[in-house]
Point group: D5
Chain length 96, copies 10
Amino acid sequence: MLFQVEMTVMIPADMPAETAAEIKAREKDYAQELQRSGIWRHIWRHAGAYKNTSIFDCRDNQHLHDVLTGLPLFPYMQIDVTPICRHPSSIREDDR
Amino acid sequence: MLFQVEMTVMIPADMPAETAAEIKAREKDYAQELQRSGIWRHIWRHAGAYKNTSIFDCRDNQHLHDVLTGLPLFPYMQIDVTPICRHPSSIREDDR
Amino acid sequence: MLFQVEMTVMIPADMPAETAAEIKAREKDYAQELQRSGIWRHIWRHAGAYKNTSIFDCRDNQHLHDVLTGLPLFPYMQIDVTPICRHPSSIREDDR
Amino acid sequence: MLFQVEMTVMIPADMPAETAAEIKAREKDYAQELQRSGIWRHIWRHAGAYKNTSIFDCRDNQHLHDVLTGLPLFPYMQIDVTPICRHPSSIREDDR
Amino acid sequence: MLFQVEMTVMIPADMPAETAAEIKAREKDYAQELQRSGIWRHIWRHAGAYKNTSIFDCRDNQHLHDVLTGLPLFPYMQIDVTPICRHPSSIREDDR
Amino acid sequence: MLFQVEMTVMIPADMPAETAAEIKAREKDYAQELQRSGIWRHIWRHAGAYKNTSIFDCRDNQHLHDVLTGLPLFPYMQIDVTPICRHPSSIREDDR
Amino acid sequence: MLFQVEMTVMIPADMPAETAAEIKAREKDYAQELQRSGIWRHIWRHAGAYKNTSIFDCRDNQHLHDVLTGLPLFPYMQIDVTPICRHPSSIREDDR
Amino acid sequence: MLFQVEMTVMIPADMPAETAAEIKAREKDYAQELQRSGIWRHIWRHAGAYKNTSIFDCRDNQHLHDVLTGLPLFPYMQIDVTPICRHPSSIREDDR
Amino acid sequence: MLFQVEMTVMIPADMPAETAAEIKAREKDYAQELQRSGIWRHIWRHAGAYKNTSIFDCRDNQHLHDVLTGLPLFPYMQIDVTPICRHPSSIREDDR
Amino acid sequence: MLFQVEMTVMIPADMPAETAAEIKAREKDYAQELQRSGIWRHIWRHAGAYKNTSIFDCRDNQHLHDVLTGLPLFPYMQIDVTPICRHPSSIREDDR
């Protein structure tokens, strides 16, 4: 089941650089692991912003909640969730 | 080059049902032709709304403009465009 | 799987009274049938408004979309959907 | 008498972890006590957010005010209150 | 139990003048009857607008809903409801 | 001359508790003195919020400004002012 | 006593040109009469818009309400009212 | 050439009182000097707020920019600029 | 003197096609004449929208107002005006 | 390919003056280098604000993203991006 998720990252100006770097490294590992498992289907960056649009494929709303709150950057993000489904005009079998 | 496009359809209440059906049929043909050509990469419906999130792959902004204004439903839609690009954490080579 | 759905009804001022009455009667039948089947779990009216807050229990996002777009009043409503899940402080086993 | 209450939790980034944990533990106790007494009827989490939608059953507006301002997390929450009542299409006798 | 209610009147430009006058006359009668019964405690006009702020004293949310939807101008108003209660600094015994 | 005033209190999280208590005590004294003098006619609390709706009776806009900026909590409040006047449907002689 | 008033004119597209011209002529006469009497102190047009910012000098809120609702264009305007007073840094004796 | 400028002052809560007093004193001198020179034509305070509406008469946009960024309080203000011009209904020769 | 102007065109759905075509033809002539005279310096289309961002070079605010209200499409546009000036980092002598 | 970019600078009040000066100096160098290379085509300041409107000419969305995130002031700016293209009424060959 698919969800469109938009994440805007807002790291506090006074976070030490090493702390930020460490969190971002863990975030990247976590994101790539979820991509490899098929849960995080797509991720695109918004041009000119520290923001992304992602497509998640989760078992249900609880699963989505667990995945998102597990993000190392979760405490520093504004997250918008939109439940989506197959479009009747879509010709791609996998976009559902 | 990728763009996230969100389209909300607002067909006037007084449009005759046949006119609406005819426009929607043309919209579907046009959408599927663009999908087959690789320009309209993804389309998902927002659950509970007459709205979609789409990903377009266009040569440039002008190309995107021509594609979107060519939509049979264009006069009846609110359209939001966001230029997107590859995310450094993405493991998919084609999401760019 | 649960969804919070808020529906604001906006019937056009020029709709004939009988048409409105007929649509509302069908809406009520449809709503009660869905409640009896366990899909439409709760519905409350906002005091002083033609608006409700509802809780739906659907199989997935597609199921929710089909249920909501099947509402006789769907063309005359603004609908906001929020995917929800069990709260860790909840003591009710059924609120999930 | 029923109220829909939406609470968004915003704990300051510089609150010590133990302080936060202690407040959350008291919040959970308080929430479960109110649920057992029938005042806090429902609580659902918004998927992907530190936010909930709740239904309270209070004697009057003053009672609701006392219950909400008594929440240990009250100083760290944005709260939206909507007075609700029985929907004429509802088939549940208890949703009032 | 008290509620602050703000009503903005928006009569369609094409409503015949006699119809509007007749609805407004019924609205005034209804408003004054509710004031005499103690339900509609206060009503003030916003300077320069077709809008009022009112204080209602109702038994519960359902009572408020019935009173407001009974307004002859209800279909032509935007209504905002805020549940209020006694302020601890108030010296008036009746403002509760 | 009447004004509707809505005040939302936002005390900084790092204000020492004694300082906050001292300011609130002065605020209450000031509010009750203004109520006794007839300037602060009504004050109601919004259920579930640190916010009030008040009605002031001032000689003119300058008088209102002086009264509001004299509030001990003024630096910590968001204030919205609406000039109001007698409603033609009002049956209360004093609501003007 | 002074008020800042911003008026945005929105004449319906289907109003006959002669009707619009007649209303605007009456509006201009009314505006100039109020300016001569000292009630409508200033009026400036927003560059590129059918909108103005005005300063009114009225006896009280009721007077302002009567003046504004007497505008021939009142039914076709969005009006925003802000009560203003003398600024302590002002060197003009008449701007109060 | 005229501009309507609205300034909302937001002095940080942790600015030392003497610093604030010194900046405000310089602001007042600067404002009065600009008024005497005819550049800052009007200034009115919003009743109940640390905010003003002003009318500036500048040679061009660059001149306005230099005047506003020269305000001692500039770093602590939200400023909204609206270019205005003579209204065809105005009877004052100087309001242009 | 420069102004950034954003225009969103909203032609009513029931305007006859020939009328719309005739207005657009006049708009194009007017726009090109203003470009040739140096008043309308730049015009760009927003990709995917019936909207443009333009730069005007006018003598003063009144001149801008006359130019914009003279647009054949003026009654069908939402217009946003921002006064701009030379940026201190600009290396182009003509962008002022 | 062109993009309209609006940047609002928000430097934290507690940044040391020398740090701010050093960042701004690097920003100016970077901006002028990009202007000389033809990538940053135009930059105008908003009168009365620490904000600019710019036109960028980039190879694609990724190029724009790299250019903008490379700005020394990037962490302290709110940035809005709008993809634009040639307007059919434009007479300038280079505005594309």
